[in-house]
Symmetry: C2
Subunit: 169 residues, 2 copies
């Protein structure tokens, strides 16, 4: 038994941890990419967006009376997901990286979709609007990745054919 406000606060903390993890994963990914400048550029743009999202979530949390020090640590679950995805980045690193970026974006899309519904139930218009604003950026990033996955895959496969070209990053 819990109120919508309590669930909302709990889920906002999860989202904050998720954005911290996103920033780490995206930074690691962008740093390693060498031969896929368009993908790297889009990821770097999203790192900036992600920082803004984290700050927006922090302002929601503060307004709801949760101080920065009580933010949940990166949850073991999100970490496990990140590690599972990071472990995938081997010989086909750029492809698996773009795939896991897309999957992570969709985890964020699911989270903000739930948060928006919870904010409505809790009649918290400010949190609702913040989450709607963030959701829009996540959807745009997910869409970009899905649209570009075929050409990233084709470029990777073509580079893989040549013995003198590094394909994976």
């Amino acid at each position: 038994m819990a109120t919508p406000q309590e669930h909302l606060l709990d889920w906002l903390k999860d989202a904050h941890a998720m954005e911290q993890q996103a920033e780490k994963m995206l930074s690691a990914q962008a740093e390693r990419l060498e031969h896929y400048p368009q993908l790297r550029g889009r990821i770097e743009q999203h790192i900036e967006e992600t920082r803004g999202q984290r700050e927006l979530l922090e302002s929601c949390l503060q307004r709801l009376g949760s101080s920065a020090s009580t933010f949940k640590d990166l949850s073991a679950k999100v970490m496990a997901f990140g590690q599972a995805m990071a472990g995938m980045t081997v010989s086909d690193e750029v492809v698996k990286g773009a795939m896991s970026g897309y999957v992570f974006e969709n985890m964020e899309i699911a989270s903000y979709t739930v948060l928006i519904a919870a904010a409505k139930e809790a009649q918290d218009v400010q949190t609702q609007q913040a989450c709607e604003q963030i959701l829009e950026q996540e959807v745009a990033m997910a869409q970009w990745l899905r649209e570009h996955l075929p050409q990233i895959t084709a470029a990777f496969l073509q580079r893989s054919l040549s013995p003198d070209t590094e394909a994976k990053r």
Copy 2:
């Protein structure tokens, strides 16, 4: 250095492992759901689709000369993801379950998007068509989950308010 055909075969094996994992996760989820019949019904429908997808992948693998016995075991990564998601199903199980279902569908969407591009590079029309057919079902399931997440969340929050009602499943 590897050919598109080699990468395609490797990724098809990953997809096969992923569908095996999907079947397990979806079955566990459907079995536990009690108070959300619409969600349960849609998951049960997708379990049937998932079985068909696994068989379609098996026929592609066999055509490419990979016998059933050489299928990769469920990869540690997909397992880790599944466990991470399963671990999330606690007091807000139905919400986190629907979210993780959506995320898993999007992992599948990313996989088939890559497989279609790889099949094109490998000029393997049959595999391409099989993956296009599967992709359509994954997109429909993902869309259903995203469209229904707000009402699942609202129903969960309303049930959570009452001390006599079980909300989580």
